[in-house]
Symmetry: D3
Subunit: 319 residues, 6 copies
């Protein structure tokens, strides 16, 4: 299969790709005519595509995300490559392709990530915290295997949420070693729970967020996660006013640090502060790494990065 | 009994007053000597008092708030009246005074306020909302009869919280009449629940807040109230994702309107907006009314009012 | 007449509608050709329309707002309905239609609104305030019968300004009843005057603001209203430094509450505070009500509402 | 007479000084005793003074500002010089001193400043503007001869307002020469009127502001000056909507440039922009000059200057 | 040659103009066809132009900025004039035109501006400052003759930087005369150096900035200028901690006054404050003057001016 | 020697302590009498002390910081312990005490910290960066052995600056391992240089900052460090515009991330971002750790921590 990032003008392509988005549009002819405006992607990047001859049946068939087989030709339009689709059909099971082979994904297998997270959870010594975390794992189910961590700010890829958690857990181990006064139980539990309700806040498939959910818009992932802790504590008869439950809820509520970032309380225990700082470090360095990894080879500067003060990043030449 | 606001210089006073605060301090003599620095109050106002001859036993006896019988003389110190205590003892039951006769209080009897609130709750047609409200009433217990609504911003007096709720409910009736498209159930439930966790956030006695509680500092009354809704819904088997539960939690979370005022979500249903506006109107007009009602008779301008952009208010002469 | 909100694809329509805007544009053919890009509206909503065959005479004939008779067909373009105009002519007097039957309007007849406002004015006991208000009514003339209250933030419809005043006066009656310490004269006068110079600040016809006027841009409606009070006081020999005139000007200047909202002084009398709060409550609830009333029937969320922190509002299903 | 800035420890002084402030305070003896806490000043600076033996009659006699004859001794208290008053009496007419010889004042005689301002006014070619300015001069009367321009931000000295105007007029001449497209009439009129209502906003005597006035607090000098223009235009039958009146009012309203600085409209004609910039330049450079001129001789840094981002200024050694 | 601002619809034009920008675009025909989308300009203004018949060779020939000879016709498109190019070729030396005759430029010859700046530099009495300024002149070279002062905020024309410096020097002379306590050496040196590294920060040709340079993005002109001072002082063996060097660096670092405008230190010597104020006055008045000078003759209001709070400016009719 | 944190009321103490501050004050007797108001400290904490019988010679003898031998008694004053000095003399060399044994200090010996920093510097592969760092080490000299990292925000103790660098270098090793795409040379060099000019910005002795220096106030440590890089590059003939020098300066200039925190450029290479994040993490966690380590044993909450949004921190009971 030809990788999208190696497409060249004039090339004829037949292969399987991910239909990342598909919209019915109309030409500006008189009368206007419907066509499919498509984004095809694989792990190496994505390309705009047009299917001019879409039939009424086609319009009912192709909805993102979906694995498709296409045939067509690469063209140059307004200085950018574009793919003209001549034939398109959904991939069938017997084609032998897995859609996950085509989506941008965490560099570690999702199962390994989830295993690492659950292993970390099992090292927590406080059994109440373990029960609460298990309750939340139960609510999340398989979503942890594939949800991204955000719509676009950072870790916006398949299993991005689990990857973010895993890397934060690594950092937390180092920080706990450097500063032994920190309560490791609280910090590990806080990392696992702080973003876990993103699985409820966002509607996502194959690592791609399509929109904020009903509860996501009206409540947000921070109050949702706090609510899950209350739900678990209530079901298992824990005291909502016990120090450990209050501190755990505080970890979640304070992890964005400031009201304008979504936290109405500020960190007032060192573990909440550490959670916030570890979250920032992982999210921001990942955003920079992603911006540089996916920039065009012939540029010196990335596009502006929303998560990083909307600044472009420079790729050093090393000379 | 002589009202504090009618004390005059040189007057000898014997009577019962509320010991609103009492601190052990030391004179600047060498060696320094301990004395009690006191605030006495009644419904008409308050006055600074000094008990120079405090014994070791006295230091263990007088803690605010407490009803005391004092004898002493009114003096002028730095252009303000001050009371020199010659004798002081705690009031005894046989003295026949009720401490609540000496605290600044809502202008309506607390029982009537609570009755009005519970009556309003009973008119809610949705039975789940009723169950949740009852659950919260159960957690609050008698506190609703005497808690203030805040430490100092507005309604900082005995039963101030219930009075605030009651007046908001009156306003809500009018607004629902003027705009029938509003869901009255949601609005009434939101008014009753929006500040109910102030009884947990603040530590108060006799309408006087001494400090923010442990959970008040680490969580705050908005997440606490949301947690109580989750607790009730969990105990009674309601669906946390049902529209009515989500909207009720949204009412609570959004009622401060902006992140810098403590709301991480903004009103996105008209009832949440109405709740915010009714809350503002009642809190701010009460703050202005209180500032004007308690200002010295010979002044034209109040002291700066913290709840009102820290502005002084002018008392019109009407000429 | 078929209401615009019930138009369906393919339908042939002949009828009278309001030409709400009309712009000369050009097709992207070579050479480009002029056509009229039109918005038609009635009380139920509005629709984009194209008149491809506009003659040079047409271009000189059709200027918004104007009542027109059109014949044409409803088409689907980019997933939205659009009206293709085949014939169009200005409505004539003998057609028997009144343009006001086609504009979105306050739900109460303008004459009733103005009558209610003037009745309220007549209950003011202070004769100087009455004189000042009459002077302002004189300057405004018939505009009070049809001006909107804003370009788009709230009450942007025919007689929106008078409707806003009337509803605020109702709210004020309730608030004065709830809090008798308020000076009713000042509050009623303040409500009538606070936005009255919008009739000078904005250029509007049929409830549609086309632009800010010369004085609107350089001075704004708040300083303009203050100036009218000065003008009246000067003409009738009142003392500009008398308490009542100063307080009335203060009501006007402070009603936006904060500098960033247009007030260089903050409310420092309770009536100015009440005016601000009543203004907020009526403007914001109206904005929410309008957004929900005009949203498409098959959506759950409105478009973002500029007056309400740019948030979308949710229409509850009630399940 | 010995200048205050040359007082030295232990020196016995007899002389006339300005009583800049006088407050009755009490010693911390038991019982406390009243004394007068005084600030004495002359053109070279000021010094704290104590009159320990104040009689009841003294307390009724000495109110700032007032010229007094004192006898006493200079002492060192907490590392700063302080004056112990042994005798004090009000200066009498026959003593032959003028209080203005003792107040900090503009470096140009007030009459010359007012003459310069009126001369500039007379060069305005537009007769309506002249009439309006004359009307305002009439309202201000003698205050222009002695009012300061502010309570403490800049030009807080005798005739500071007239000095500020005069220097701004000089700068304006230069700027009009450098940029001939500016309308000199508008700019000169704007400079004369922009702060003229400070004479109404502030209560001041001998160049010392004691407080904001009733109208100062409720309206502020910008709306007051705009109101005076309206008053003049109304009295002399000018059209309030004529371009020249609107532009003149715009000059006044916009001269603080931003809402948070008190302007609800921003400059939208170049003369309003020039007025703002000239005002800033004169006010800020004067604040720096004053801070450096009145700093102690043995310091390198001034106290923080409120008008200049609260920064201390450095006096260069020139080495 | 016909000036661009006097072009009229239908007119046939042959002449020399500046090709200010040239981009290859494609028509929306199927298949799309390349054409050149051009901006032509002269000293009177600019006009959009289209060259529909661009050959492959043309695409390699025309790069802005360049002087070209064009033949074509003026058309009306979307209510604005546009130029249809029929023939285009680069101007040859024998055509006898100088490109600088076609660019918008400072109203004073660049050589005169540079002469004025160097003359001012020569009046500085401190020889170290002279050496540093000479070092910076050496780094800048010929750029001072043509660089604009900014990309678009103010003085965005040929020799705009030198013009800005010159006018600031004039203002500084006046201010030093009005306030003799200012150190003229420091102020003159500060004016010359404050923006001098814009020649390094910006990439510009013929007074037109194409982009921020590598060092411009990563360092900015303020740290660059400070670095040049350090470089000069190091090369010539001056003490980096001497008062004069520190003050000179402070002038540069503080001239934007506030962190959000790019200054991490605020003015703490009066000359740094004066530099900031003079810079503001010249930049802002120039922005207003330019906006009014280049606005269409039949408009009353300019387009919004980015440097002036994004406000439109009004051109007074003078009636 | 008795540790200060174990002092109890009434105890008589003789021993050596650090005189951390000493101020001449006066009693409020008449006439007032001079005494020394002292802070004594050791590694366990500090205590307020009074030396009532200070002679004129004493006033010339005791200046902080200095090691002293004191005899006296512990008293209770206003609910806090205080030390009454009866005898005091400077420690002599023959007393055999080292002042550094009495100052709060990094938990690692300063020599080890400096060794670790220099070892890290030696692993940088780029020789130009090494030369620049050596140049800066030369300027700093012995200060690296004892300077604190700030006046009070974080690491305000002996060798706090070196400790901060060392811990950041440890974190950087981990981050470079986790994210191999980072340029280790740049990150290590950036960590060593980012705060190095604090040794010039602050005046400190024994880990205690007394004030900001002349260059500290007028330039600040960020521009100073950038200037040192320029100085080194100039002396050793490196190209100021080479990528490595520009990136190194960018690291320094951008490490505070936002203008309001002192950075006029934002991180635009990933190493600058990592430097900022590592700096934040180490500074903030240290501030929390210090606040909890030095809080009184019987409290649950620390005093507000200025570096951490001015929040108090809670010490968990672990129950």
């Amino acid at each position: 299969m030809t990788l999208i990032q190696s497409f060249t003008e004039g090339q004829e392509i037949t292969g399987f790709y991910l239909l990342k988005s598909s919209t019915i549009k109309q030409t500006n002819a008189t009368p206007p005519k419907d066509y499919l405006d498509i984004i095809l992607s694989d792990t190496s990047g994505e390309i705009s595509a047009k299917y001019w001859d879409a039939s009424a049946a086609d319009k009912e068939t192709f909805f993102a995300p979906m694995l498709v087989k296409v045939r067509g030709v690469v063209q140059l339009y307004r200085e950018r490559l574009q793919f003209k689709v001549n034939k398109i059909r959904p991939a069938a099971e017997e084609d032998g392709y897995h859609i996950t082979d085509f989506v941008r994904s965490a560099p570690v297998p999702p199962n390994d990530l989830v295993y690492a997270i659950k292993t970390a959870a099992s090292t927590i010594q406080d059994t109440d915290m373990q029960v609460i975390i298990d309750h939340c794992f139960g609510k999340v189910g398989d979503k942890l295997l594939h949800y991204p961590a955000a719509k676009g700010m950072h870790h916006a890829f398949y299993a991005g949420l689990a990857y973010h958690m895993t890397r934060m857990l690594e950092l937390a181990e180092f920080v706990c070693m450097q500063r032994p006064f920190l309560n490791r139980d609280l910090l590990v539990a806080g990392i696992i729970l702080h973003d876990i309700a993103k699985t409820e806040e966002l509607t996502a498939e194959l690592g791609i967020v399509s929109e904020y959910s009903f509860t996501g818009k009206l409540l947000g992932h921070i109050p949702l996660a706090a609510s899950w802790v209350t739900e678990a504590a209530t079901q298992y008869g824990m005291d909502l006013n016990s120090e450990k439950i209050v501190l755990l809820q505080h970890m979640i509520l304070a992890h964005h640090n400031l009201p304008e970032w979504g936290s109405t309380v500020q960190p007032q225990i060192p573990e909440a502060l550490a959670l916030h700082l570890i979250d920032q470090m992982d999210a921001k360095l990942q955003a920079a790494e992603d911006a540089l990894a996916t920039m065009p080879a012939n540029e010196d500067w990335t596009a502006p990065v929303r998560a990083l003060e909307n600044k472009s990043f420079y790729r050093a030449k090393g000379n």
